[in-house]
């Protein structure tokens, strides 16, 4: 609904953003695809040769790939489970008539704003250190043997750190969603005599279905890309995920071809998730 003149101005106004984003998306992707078909090692420059799908073959048959893929998936599922279930419960709790709710909410969402490298080092050293960490002290004071988290359960340790950052995100979004629940609907349910559990399952949960889906999809995108926590804690060996493996292959082993093949695998994985997310948000755009 506008005149031709405004529409023309509109096109001019959108163009710069579209052009730079297009380049940002297509150039690296095309190069990655191209590199993934080459034998290309940074230590052996000038000797690149076309090898077809050989890199994929190596990459996909490498046990490290399956370990990394497994770690990627475990990390995503574990953190999702913790943040969705915990976030829903926490959001319900914070929706109650609580004294000082605003302060509690600030405390709960704070971890989301902590940069990943800080979170990784604080957890690794001050909490999970096998001798002087706070966890070790807690376990010793109740007479248990301290756990050496990063030696014994590296992936679990990473999951704890990452979940600590994403639980607040889920809580914040679900709390916002719960608070948008129509007051009259609550009162109608009360008039209908719905007990708390029925109220939760028949009124609250259906209302949360959409925000929960959004949280799942968005967290999945970010969780597939977790890197700093693994990089900084040095758990790349036992707990490395796909992004770490690509980094390791490319920038530490200088195998550009293999790393690129890994990158493309990661892109395919992410696209499967993105497909659903985009459709989901697109539908919201209609409504």
């Amino acid at each position: 609904m506008a005149t031709q003149q405004t529409r023309l101005l509109g096109k001019l106004a959108v163009a710069p953003s579209v052009v730079v984003l297009f380049l940002w998306m297509i150039v690296p992707l095309a190069l990655t695809i191209w590199f993934s078909l080459l034998r290309y090692n940074l230590l052996d420059p000038g000797n690149e040769s076309f090898v077809g799908f050989l890199n994929y073959e190596y990459f996909l048959t490498d046990p490290a790939f399956f370990a990394a893929l497994g770690n990627s998936l475990k990390l995503v599922f574990a953190v999702l489970a913790i943040s969705i279930i915990g976030g829903t419960l926490l959001a319900l709790l914070l929706d109650q008539a609580i004294v000082g709710r605003n302060i509690v909410r600030l405390m709960v969402i704070a971890p989301f704003f902590v940069m990943p490298t800080v979170s990784a080092l604080v957890w690794k050293n001050m909490f999970m250190h096998p001798v002087s960490g706070l966890f070790a002290w807690l376990m010793k004071s109740v007479g248990l043997e301290p756990v050496d988290w990063f030696a014994q359960y590296p992936l679990t340790a990473v999951i704890i750190m990452v979940a600590w950052q994403w639980l607040p995100f889920a809580t914040l979004i679900l709390l916002t969603a719960i608070q948008s629940l129509d007051e009259e609907q609550k009162e109608a349910a009360e008039m209908d005599g719905a007990p708390p559990l029925a109220y939760f399952f028949y009124i609250v949960l259906p209302h949360l279905a959409r925000p929960i889906t959004v949280v799942i999809l968005i967290e999945t995108i970010f969780l597939l890309n977790v890197f700093a926590e693994i990089y900084v804690t040095g758990t790349g060996g036992p707990a490395g995920n796909l992004p770490y493996l690509v980094y390791f292959q490319g920038l530490l082993n200088f195998d550009v071809g293999g790393a690129s093949a890994g990158g493309i695998v990661a892109v395919v994985l992410a696209n499967i998730v993105a497909f659903f997310l985009i459709r989901m948000i697109g539908r919201n755009l209609e409504g």
Binding site: M1, A2, T6, R7, G10, A13, V14, S17, L21, F35, L90, L93, Q96, A97, I98, R101, I103, M107, I109, A110, F112, F113, V114, M115, P116, T117, V118, S119, L121, V122, N125, M126, W137, S141, L167, L172, T176, A177, E183, P211, V214, N225, F227, Y231, V232, P243, V246, Y247, L251, A259, S260, G262, G263, V267, L269, A270, V273, I278, I281, G282
Partner: protein, 276 residues
């Protein structure tokens, strides 16, 4: 609405919420407390919670030894710079999408969003090589460009959802009143969108400040922001807990404050307007 909730229920909920909130916040609190200890006390078993010799020496040492302020200024330049550049691109784009939409506007928005789905590892190798060949590794300019592109879709989206809430009739009224497009944007749209633009700015500074994939991989020292600086504590300085804590506290404090202010916008920005 205003109804009495039983005192018992209220008490139980309040205690539970404060307990859980405190637990979740504790790692941050612990970091802040530790930053005021001496290294010796930081290590002590059993740990000292409040009763120790409070000192601020760690903050001085962190600055002295590693030129902390340089990393802070890099973080500031990178996050604010990339956000401002992105606003420059995004404000006209969002205006057009909200007020002069074409047939493909929705597809365009969706497509912009989809670029955000691209995992960075898919682009890491070529971007790294391009940066190396162009001498952009460890340069602020190169990193600003990357962070700008990384956050541009979110900025366009957020502004779009804010602009959408401004009735088009008001802009038309301005047109009837004889305002040119420029005056329409400056005198009418911008003042009405100030809260939206401000929260977009805020959220994106937070995201850029905490970005830790590209900043770790594309910088070494000259352009390194706080994320990279903290990462350098991973070994063996990580054993100096008090200093690690001081550095961490300084790295997260400003963004924590901004984040608390931006809570509401955060929900909207990160869910692309799907949850408000």
């Amino acid at each position: 609405m205003a109804r009495a909730v039983s005192l018992r229920r209220r008490t139980v909920a309040t205690i539970a919420a404060w307990a859980i909130g405190f637990l979740i916040f504790f790692p941050i609190l612990w970091t802040i407390i530790t930053s005021f200890k001496t290294e010796l006390e930081a290590f002590s078993t059993p740990p000292k919670f409040l009763f120790f010799e409070w000192t601020t020496e760690n903050y001085g040492i962190v600055q002295e030894r590693s030129n902390y302020l340089r990393f802070v200024s890099n973080s500031l330049i990178l996050s604010i710079g990339s956000t401002l550049v992105a606003l420059l691109f995004a404000i006209p784009a969002a205006w057009a999408m909200a007020f002069a939409p074409g047939k493909r506007t929705k597809d365009l928005l969706m497509w912009m969003l989809s670029t955000k789905m691209m995992p960075p590892v898919g682009a890491l190798i070529p971007v790294y090589l391009i940066f190396r060949d162009m001498g952009l590794l460890d340069s602020r300019g190169g990193l600003i460009a990357v962070l700008f592109l990384l956050n541009l879709p979110i900025i366009v989206w957020m502004l779009y959802t804010y602009f959408k809430e401004i009735p088009g009739e008001i802009l038309e009224a301005a047109r009837m009143d004889g305002a040119s497009l420029w005056k329409e944007l400056v005198y009418v749209l911008a003042p009405m969108a100030v809260p939206g633009i401000a929260s977009t700015l805020l959220l994106n500074i937070i995201l850029a400040w905490n970005e830790a994939f590209w900043t770790l991989n594309l910088t070494t020292s000259a352009a390194a922001p706080l994320t990279a600086f903290i990462a350098s504590y991973s070994s063996p300085e990580g054993l100096f807990w008090a200093k690690l804590s001081a550095a961490s506290t300084m790295a997260i404090a400003p963004i924590l404050v901004l984040g608390w202010f931006a809570q509401k916008q955060l929900v909207r920005g990160l869910t692309f307007g799907a949850v408000k």
